[in-house]
C-alpha cells in the first residue's frame, strides 16, 4: 500500500508539471490562435501606418491615417452612432430583467414559454435584419401603416437621416433583450431562496424587496449583462449591411461598417486598418475589465 501511495505521488509530481503531453495537447489551439487571431491583430496595427490599396506597393505614412481619421466627418458620425447604439442598448437589460421576473415561475409549460421568448437570440442577425427591414420599409412596411392607423403621418424611417440608425437598434434590441433575459433567469434560479424568504419575514416586499435584496444578489449577472451589451453594440456590422448600408448619406454608418467600406469599397486598406485600431481600442477597455474580473478570484 505504501509503495502504491508513493507511486501515486510520483505520478502526480510528474504530471502536474508540463511535459511533452502538454505540448501536444496545446499545440493545435496555440498554432491556430497565433496564426489567425494574434498575428492579424499585430499586423492590422502595423498596416494602419501605411497607405495601401491592397495590391500595389505600401507607402509608410506614419500616423497620417489617424490624423485624417480625426478630421473625417463620416468617422465622427460612425463613432457617435456607436455611442448612440450603446446608450440605446441599455433598454435590453431593463426589458430583459422585466421578462425574467415575469417568467420566473414554476408552472407547467414555463420551460417551453421561456424557450420561445429566447428564440430571437438564435436566429441569424441577417434574418433579423431582413425582418425589420420589411417592418420599416417605406412602401410595404407595417410600421408606417400603424402610424397612419394612429392618425400620424408616415415616417419612412429607413429613408430618414435621423431615424434609419434607430431602425437597426430596434432590430438589435430584439435578440439582445432575449439574451439578457436568459442571463437574468439563470441568476434568479441560482439565487439562494432563504435570503429572499428572510427579507420577506422582515416585512420587505414588492419593489423594495427587488431593490434592496434581489438586485444586489444579481450583481455578478448585472456585470456580465453590461459586458455582453457593450460588446454587442460594437458588433453591429450585420444590421448595417442588411438594412441601411450606412445610409442615407452615411447617416447610419458605424465603425465596423465604415472600416469594411473604406477597405473594400474605396480600396484604402491602411485607412481601414486605422479605423479597426480605433475599434480595438474601444473594445480593449471592455476586454480589460472582463479579464480583471474573470481572473481576480483565481489569482491567489
Amino acid at each position: 500500500m505504501r509503495v502504491r501511495a508513493g507511486a501515486a505521488r510520483a505520478v502526480a509530481k510528474r504530471t502536474r508539471h508540463a511535459g511533452l503531453g502538454t505540448v501536444v495537447l496545446l499545440a493545435p489551439a496555440c498554432v491556430l490562435f497565433s496564426l489567425f487571431v494574434l498575428y492579424p491583430i499585430l499586423r492590422t496595427v502595423a498596416l494602419s501606418l501605411y497607405d495601401w490599396d491592397g495590391v500595389g506597393a505600401r507607402d509608410f505614412v506614419g500616423l497620417d491615417n489617424y490624423f485624417e481619421l480625426f478630421a473625417d466627418p463620416v468617422f465622427a458620425t460612425a463613432l457617435a452612432n456607436n455611442v448612440r447604439w450603446l446608450a440605446c442598448y441599455l433598454v435590453a437589460p431593463l426589458a430583459g430583467l422585466a421578462f425574467a421576473l415575469l417568467l420566473n415561475q414554476r408552472l407547467a409549460g414555463m420551460r417551453a414559454v421561456r424557450a420561445l421568448f429566447f428564440m430571437p437570440f438564435v436566429v441569424s442577425q441577417v434574418v433579423v435584419g431582413l425582418i425589420f427591414g420589411w417592418f420599416f420599409h417605406s412602401r410595404y412596411g407595417l410600421f408606417d401603416r400603424l402610424l397612419q392607423f394612429a392618425g400620424l403621418p408616415p415616417l419612412a424611417p429607413l429613408d430618414s437621416e435621423t431615424w434609419s440608425l434607430y431602425t437597426m437598434i430596434v432590430a438589435g434590441l430584439w435578440p439582445q433583450t432575449a439574451y439578457c433575459m436568459i442571463l437574468y433567469l439563470a441568476g434568479l434560479a441560482a439565487m439562494p431562496g432563504d435570503v429572499v424568504d428572510a427579507a420577506r419575514v422582515d416585512g420587505a416586499h414588492g419593489l423594495a424587496l427587488l431593490r434592496r435584496v434581489v438586485l444586489p444578489q444579481l450583481r455578478p449577472v448585472q456585470f456580465i449583462v453590461a459586458m455582453v451589451c457593450a460588446v454587442a453594440a460594437l458588433r453591429s456590422f450585420d444590421y448595417v449591411m442588411i438594412m441601411t448600408l450606412g445610409g442615407p448619406y452615411d447617416s447610419s454608418t458605424v465603425l465596423a461598417y465604415y472600416m469594411y467600406e473604406q477597405t473594400f469599397g474605396n480600396l484604402r486598406y491602411g485607412y481601414g486598418a486605422a479605423i479597426a485600431v480605433v475599434l480595438l481600442a474601444l473594445m480593449s477597455g471592455i476586454i480589460g475589465l472582463l479579464l480583471w474580473r474573470l481572473f481576480r478570484r483565481e489569482g491567489a
Binding site: 489551439a29 499586423r43 408552472l107 431582413l130
Partner: protein
C-alpha cells in the same frame, strides 16, 4: 424565490398571469409570424401591398417548392452545413485538449495563455479582417470552405477553451492519476478519461459554436465569393437582389435559414442555456 411563487396565489391571478404571458409572447414573436405569413402569400398579393392581413389563399407548397427547386437555397444550406459541422467538431476537440492541459498541468504562463484565448475571442472581426484575408490568399485557401472552417475554428477555440477548462478543472486529480499509473500517456488520459467525463460540457459548447458559426455573415462576405461555396447567410443577401419583386420567396428562404439553429436550440435547450449561463457563474 422572487417574485412570489404563483401556485400560492388565488386561481384568478394565475389565470390572468397565463393570459398576460401568452399575449406578450404572441407580440414578441410577431416578427417571425409576419414572415411566416408572407412566405405563404402569392406574389400578386404582396405586390398589391397586401402584407399584413390573413393570406387569402395559401401558397405553401408552391412557394416552398419554388424556393427549394428554383433557387440556390438547397445548395446554400448544404454549404453552411459543410462549413459549420467540421468547424464545430474541430473547435470542440481542440478546445477540450487545450482546456485539459491548462486545467490539469502546472506550468508558468498557463494563466496568461488562458487570458489571451478569452481576450482574442472578444476582438472585433474588423480588426482581423485584412490580415486573415491576405493570409488565406497566401495559403491559396481564399474562396474555399477550408478557409472558413480554419478561421472559425481558430476564433471559436478561444472562448471554448475557457469553457472546457472550467469544467475539466473540477475533475478530481485522483481519477486522472489512476489512469496515469497504468502507464497511459497524456493523450490517452484525455481520450479515455477526460472526454467521457466532460461529455455534457462538450455538447453544450458544440451547440453554442454551431449557432455562432451557422449565423456568421461577416466572414462569409470576406473569405468567400463564389456561389458554389457561399454559406446561407451571405446567400440570403444575394437572394435579395434576385428576388426584388418576389419577397414571399425571400421570406420562405429566411425561415429556412433560421430553422436549424432554432431546431438545435429546442432539442438541446438545456445544454445551450447551461452553456450561455455557465460563464456568468464564473464571474
Amino acid at each position: 424565490m422572487y417574485p412570489a411563487a404563483l401556485p400560492q396565489r388565488p386561481a384568478w391571478i394565475r389565470g390572468a398571469y397565463v393570459a398576460v404571458v401568452l399575449a406578450l409572447l404572441a407580440l414578441w414573436l410577431l416578427p417571425l409570424a409576419g414572415i411566416t405569413l408572407a412566405s405563404l402569400r402569392s406574389a400578386d398579393e404582396l405586390n398589391r401591398g397586401d402584407w399584413w392581413g390573413w393570406p387569402r389563399d395559401t401558397h405553401l407548397v408552391e412557394n416552398y417548392r419554388a424556393v427549394l427547386a428554383g433557387s440556390p437555397l438547397l445548395r446554400l444550406t448544404l454549404n453552411s452545413l459543410l462549413v459549420t459541422v467540421p468547424a464545430v467538431v474541430a473547435t470542440v476537440l481542440i478546445a477540450a485538449m487545450a482546456g485539459f492541459a491548462l486545467a490539469k498541468h502546472r506550468f508558468p504562463g498557463a494563466r496568461v495563455l488562458l487570458m489571451l484565448f478569452v481576450a482574442g475571442n472578444l476582438v472585433p472581426a474588423q480588426v482581423l479582417m485584412i490580415p486573415v484575408r491576405d493570409l488565406m490568399i497566401a495559403l491559396h485557401l481564399y474562396d474555399t470552405r477550408v478557409a472558413l472552417v480554419l478561421f472559425h475554428t481558430s476564433f471559436q477555440t478561444g472562448f471554448a477553451t475557457l469553457f472546457m477548462h472550467n469544467f475539466i478543472r473540477e475533475l478530481p486529480d485522483s481519477v486522472l492519476d489512476a489512469a496515469r499509473m497504468e502507464g497511459a500517456s497524456e493523450l490517452a488520459v484525455f481520450r479515455r478519461v477526460v472526454v467521457p467525463l466532460v461529455h455534457p460540457a462538450m455538447a453544450a459548447i458544440a451547440v453554442l459554436v454551431f449557432t455562432f458559426v451557422w449565423n456568421d455573415f461577416f466572414w462569409s462576405l470576406v473569405l468567400v465569393q463564389s456561389d458554389a461555396i457561399r454559406p446561407l447567410t451571405a446567400g440570403l443577401q444575394a437572394l435579395r437582389g434576385m428576388y426584388q419583386t418576389t419577397w414571399h420567396l425571400l421570406c420562405a428562404a429566411s425561415l429556412l435559414a433560421a430553422l436549424p439553429p432554432v431546431a438545435m436550440f429546442f432539442f438541446m435547450q438545456k445544454h445551450l442555456i447551461a452553456g450561455l449561463t455557465r460563464v456568468e457563474r464564473e464571474l
